[in-house]
């Protein structure tokens, strides 16, 4: 009984913190319509700030608790909230759900970056609870610390105060009214911007309170741990459907208590070792379940033209041309860059392949998925397990598994392409046969050699993507009726789950298949002691393990193939269905479209691409670890950068992948090198290096608000002018110059820097020159038809031109009469 009480008290205290944090989230959401992903990060930052002022032995340090508290909660936190609203969130009006989600994610990454930057080093930072560790009182045998008591009291007071503010005061009612209709608020004399700022200030204070209160319960301050802890509050907020405060508070308590009771039952995870991480993931599991149990969202139709995002669809011809251009560019580059750069570029391209899964799922179909790298990670693990590891016996077992997966994939995906009944049967059978032949004949899996395989096989990649596809379908199946933010949160929960339960899994799981063999038919050691070695592929006599350039070109070809296929898909009837579903689910429903099947198929397909890309990425890296490269944080960064690039374009994925893998490292390196060379400006360059490494991605994301259609489209728009006939000369000369510069670099006349410094300016001058040229031409031939007879005479040439434009047969009579007139 005493034990039960102890765990109840602990659960109530943490639950109360979740309640406070989630209430803050609800306040910002109900008053600005933006789900503040950065909420946890604000709490984390405030906890660090408080620690700095209160406990650090360096600067700041040893402020009296009330002053430090007042500073953090009533000065720093509201300022953060107000600045966020002013600088970032205000620009989100009229943007899509994707953009509204990505920008707070960027802010979150920025806070993580800043905190990592300011509080560098592995120093232990241990905040103490209020009134010290020994200040406690007791009920019977159960001790309750003052810190816990304070938490619960603060939660109750805040709950009542918030409820009163939002529902009984004019300020609160105005805040809620702003979400409904800011224009009307303005017409009634209210100031929407001021209301939004107030709510962001309040939300940020709540996050700070939660952060300061929870940090002493953790033992030490950790950036990611604290951020994730407040993420647990998301589950509580969903309990209240993001608007009901009392339910939100109850949700927080339920989560706190269930984690605490689970710790009690499982003896802090020691009882069932393979479930040991459940104590940190339980809130996320609850989040997933609550999302599934929420009442169905009403189908909504989007207002036409209401969004600032617009994506064009490229033609197949141009996409193939661009593919050739990309592959030849990459091949050309591979001749002149060092192997370090080759490795970075390959990494970027494999990431871009994973990014393509997001283009399909989020860009084309409008379904938000925050777990792209979780799927990629599963692909990598599957490739390891089934190609390199020893989870599945080779031979018939492997072939059977592959066939089953292929069948499932076919049945899920093919109907969406309009294959039914007999044609479906034929298509699925053909697909199964294809996979079977691939696995059995081309991989020689009839023997027992896979465990010691030294190279990744093609069938390994295929099976990896099929397995990921089946996982994708399994995740999508329950989540299929979720949309927008709720779907994003569900996938986010899945990503955290994979992070904790799969990547950190150290136990060997054994399964007994009834009636077959002994008691351990299948044993999987999911994540071999924290690192998996996955070899490079090797076929057609090319050893991709030794030749980085071969891997680079191979990956670029694969990227292009998938891209062209995706563009073709987008132009097919399937693609049109996806777009229709994205634009207006309500209209689709009235047309009788089966949206469940459509969603399931697109999820499956996207997961397959992600799994394939993940296996390829892992194989390129050779080793993956539990904390690199497939974690939730990396996944969010990739998602964000792909959206920055333009999630509706395959080039957006390319941009996202390359920038993610290379750009910030390159910039960091650049400044780092300068810092080395110029010792006296060391501090400045080191600053810039840290700045780009830690904050680069986040800032790129925050900048998105200005151009929600993405950077790729902007670049393409810039170069569009070069397609005009009159600019052919400029393109020709420019390309020749760049090719010449490349040639000089190949024969080692000068080094890479000179090549970049000569070719980049030429590249960017081309569209500028083209524009000037076109404008010049336009001005010279500004002879609009209306001016005929005024600015210029009716020449025969002009008349036959007009006749041709109007498709009138030339009239000899008219000409005759004109001659007579003259």
């Amino acid at each position: 009984m005493a034990e039960f009480l102890t765990f109840t008290v602990v659960g109530l205290a943490t639950g109360a913190i979740y309640s406070i944090a989630s209430a803050g989230l609800v306040v910002t959401y109900t008053t600005s319509g933006i789900f503040n992903f950065a909420h946890g990060a604000i709490g984390m930052f405030s906890a660090f700030l408080y620690w700095q002022l209160r406990w650090d032995e360096g600067w700041g340090g040893f402020w009296p608790a009330p002053i430090a508290l007042a500073f953090v909660l009533f000065i720093a936190a509201p300022i953060i909230g107000i600045l966020l609203q002013l600088i970032v969130m205000r620009g989100l009006e009229g943007t899509s759900e994707t953009t509204k989600l990505v920008i707070p994610i960027a802010v979150m990454l920025a806070f993580i970056g800043i905190t990592n930057w300011v509080w560098q080093g592995a120093e232990q930072r241990i905040p103490k609870p209020f009134f010290g560790r020994n200040a406690k009182w007791s009920i019977g045998d159960t001790y309750i610390t003052w810190h816990q008591t304070i938490i619960v009291i603060v939660a109750i007071v805040l709950a009542i105060a918030l409820r009163f503010l939002l529902f009984n005061t004019k300020i609160g009612v105005t805040m809620r009214a702003v979400v409904d209709n800011p224009e009307l608020v303005e017409l009634n004399g209210g100031r929407p911007n001021r209301s939004a700022m107030q709510s962001w200030a309040i939300g940020s204070i709540m996050a700070a309170i939660a952060g300061v209160l929870i940090s002493p319960l953790l033992g030490g301050l950790g950036v990611l741990a604290l951020t994730l802890l407040v993420v647990n509050a998301y589950a509580a907020a969903i309990f209240g459907r993001l608007k009901n405060l009392p339910l939100t508070f109850i949700g927080g308590l339920v989560i706190g208590l269930s984690v605490s009771y689970w710790n009690w039952i499982s003896r802090t995870g020691q009882k069932w070792p393979w479930l040991s991480e459940l104590r940190t993931t339980l809130p996320i599991v609850i989040l997933f379940c609550v999302l599934l149990l929420l009442p169905q969202d009403r189908l909504r139709g989007n207002r036409a033209g209401s969004l600032r995002e617009q994506f064009r669809v490229p033609s197949i011809r141009s996409s193939i041309l661009w593919s050739f251009a990309l592959v030849s560019l990459v091949s050309g580059l591979s001749l002149i860059i060092t192997s370090k750069w080759e490795a970075l570029l390959t990494r970027g391209l494999t990431m871009a392949i994973i990014g393509l899964s997001m283009v399909l799922l989020t860009g084309y179909a409008g379904e938000l998925n925050l777990a792209p790298l979780a799927f990629a990670g599963i692909g990598a693990i599957a490739a390891f397990q089934f190609d390199v590891g020893s989870a599945v016996e080779t031979g018939p077992g492997f072939a059977t598994l592959a066939t089953l997966l292929a069948a499932g994939f076919g049945v899920l995906v093919f109907p969406a392409f309009g294959l039914f009944k007999r044609r479906l049967f034929v298509a699925v059978t053909a697909f199964i046969l294809l996979v079977f032949i691939l696995v059995v004949f081309f991989d020689g899996t009839t023997g027992t050699g896979i465990a010691s395989r030294e190279s990744m096989s093609l069938s390994g990649l295929v099976v990896a993507s099929l397995i990921t596809a089946s996982v994708g379908a399994t995740v999508a199946l329950p989540a299929i009726r979720l949309r927008g933010l709720y779907l994003a949160l569900a996938t986010f929960a899945f990503a955290i789950f994979v992070d904790k339960m799969v990547y950190k899994q150290r136990e060997t799981l054994t399964f007994d298949i009834p009636f077959v063999g002994d008691s351990e038919d299948l044993s999987i050691n999911l994540f071999n002691n924290g690192a998996l070695n996955i070899p490079r592929p090797k076929f057609w006599g090319i050893d991709f393990g030794e030749k980085q350039w071969a891997m680079l070109i191979f990956v670029s070809i694969i990227f292009c193939c998938i891209s062209v296929a995706l563009i073709q898909l987008r132009k097919s009837s399937y693609g049109r269905q996806l777009t229709a579903m994205k634009d207006s689910p309500a209209a689709c429903a009235t047309l009788g479209m089966n949206m469940r099947r459509l969603k399931l198929s697109v999820f499956t397909l996207a997961a397959a691409i992600a799994g394939f890309g993940g296996a390829l990425h892992a194989s390129n890296l050779r080793t993956i670890q539990e904390d690199y490269p497939f974690t939730i944080w990396e996944g969010l960064a990739l998602f964000m950068l792909t959206v920055v690039g333009g999630i509706g374009y395959v080039s957006g994925a390319l941009f996202g992948g390359i920038i993610y893998a290379c750009a910030f490292i390159v910039m960091g390196d650049f400044w780092g090198k300068l810092a080395e060379d110029w010792g006296s400006f060391d501090w400045l360059f080191t600053f810039l290096q840290d700045f780009f490494l830690l904050l680069g991605p986040a800032l790129a994301g925050i900048g998105l608000g200005r151009n929600p259609s993405g950077v790729a489209s902007q670049i393409f728009d810039g170069f569009r002018i070069l397609r005009k006939k009159e600019n052919n000369g400029i393109v020709g000369v420019g390309s020749l110059l760049i090719a010449f510069s490349w040639f000089l670099r190949v024969i080692d006349v000068y080094n890479g820097w000179v090549f970049i410094m000569t070719s980049l300016p030429i590249l960017f001058l081309m569209p500028l020159l083209g524009e000037a040229n076109t404008r010049d031409r336009d001005r010279r031939k500004d002879t609009s038809i209306e001016m005929a007879g005024i600015d210029f005479g009716f020449t025969d040439e002009f008349i036959s031109f007009v006749d041709k434009e109007l498709s009138i047969p030339s009239d000899p009579m008219w000409k005759e009469s004109r001659i007579n007139d003259e």
């Binding site: 529902f167 004019k170 009612v173 105005t174 809620r176 009214a177 979400v179 409904d180 209709n181 224009e183 009307l184 608020v185 303005e186 017409l187 009634n188 004399g189 209210g190 100031r191």
Partner: protein, 231 residues
């Protein structure tokens, strides 16, 4: 008598497209001005200029003798101009009561506002705690009216009050408009369906292609109507 609100040679438009050309009109206390005309004539744009939602490219918005051309809508609202925009004059996710409280000026107790509101529209009192979006179209428009009147405005701008409503309810709403006018409020009604509006108006104007083509007593306007609508 000086007008409460006057537009003087207003030119306005959206982005590159000019919509209004030299529009001038005046609203007087206690009088109802009905602005009529077919779709796309510039009626709602005129109203947006009056409420400050759209800054004119040239011309003056004069309120009680003072030029307030570039004042933002919230300041105009506080100065006593109350607008009920077309079809969305309420906050659908707030309760009826919240909608009423929302616009109470400081100084007037909320109980008083509620009391007056429920007296005017008895149906609303039983729905005080219901979400406004779940009310019927007529009730929503009544709520919008009540909410607007709670601010005790000097000028009331109504955009398409009758849109999508049953004739009976429209009649009821217009009766209230008349009552409000008799209390000294200057009222501008923008309407596509002219007949009912003309019945209560003191002055009427017809807008065609962004120009005020005819202005005068309702009876005289009535004759020109057919021509304006049918071309």
């Amino acid at each position: 008598m000086t007008p409460l609100l006057a537009l003087h040679k207003i030119n306005a438009g959206y982005a590159e497209i000019p919509v209004l050309h030299d529009v001038s009109l005046s609203l007087y206390p206690g009088k109802i001005y009905a602005l009529l005309g077919p779709n796309g004539g510039g009626k709602s744009t005129t109203l947006k200029v009056c409420s400050g939602q759209l800054t004119p490219t040239s011309g003056d918005l004069i309120i009680a003798g003072k030029s307030m051309t570039k004042t933002d809508p919230s300041a105009l609202a506080r100065a006593g101009i109350c607008t009920i925009p077309e079809g969305k004059g309420i906050f659908p996710n707030l309760t009826v009561r919240d909608n009423l409280i929302m616009m109470s000026k400081s100084g007037i107790p909320t109980e008083h506002i509620e009391e007056v509101a429920y007296q005017r529209f008895t149906q609303l009192s039983s729905r005080a705690r219901q979400t406004a979006g779940t009310l019927s179209g007529g009730e929503q428009q009544m709520l919008a009216m009540t909410r607007a009147l709670a601010t005790d405005p000097a000028i009331l701008l109504l955009d398409e009050l009758s849109m999508g409503l049953a004739p009976l309810i429209v009649g009821q709403l217009y009766e209230i408009v008349q009552q409000v006018a008799s209390g000294g409020v200057a009222i501008l009604i923008v309407e596509q369906f002219a007949r009912t509006a003309l019945e209560i108006a003191d002055t009427a104007g017809i807008m065609l292609n962004g120009r005020l083509v005819n202005e005068g007593r309702p009876e005289s306007i009535q004759k020109g109507l057919k021509h304006a609508y049918l071309g």
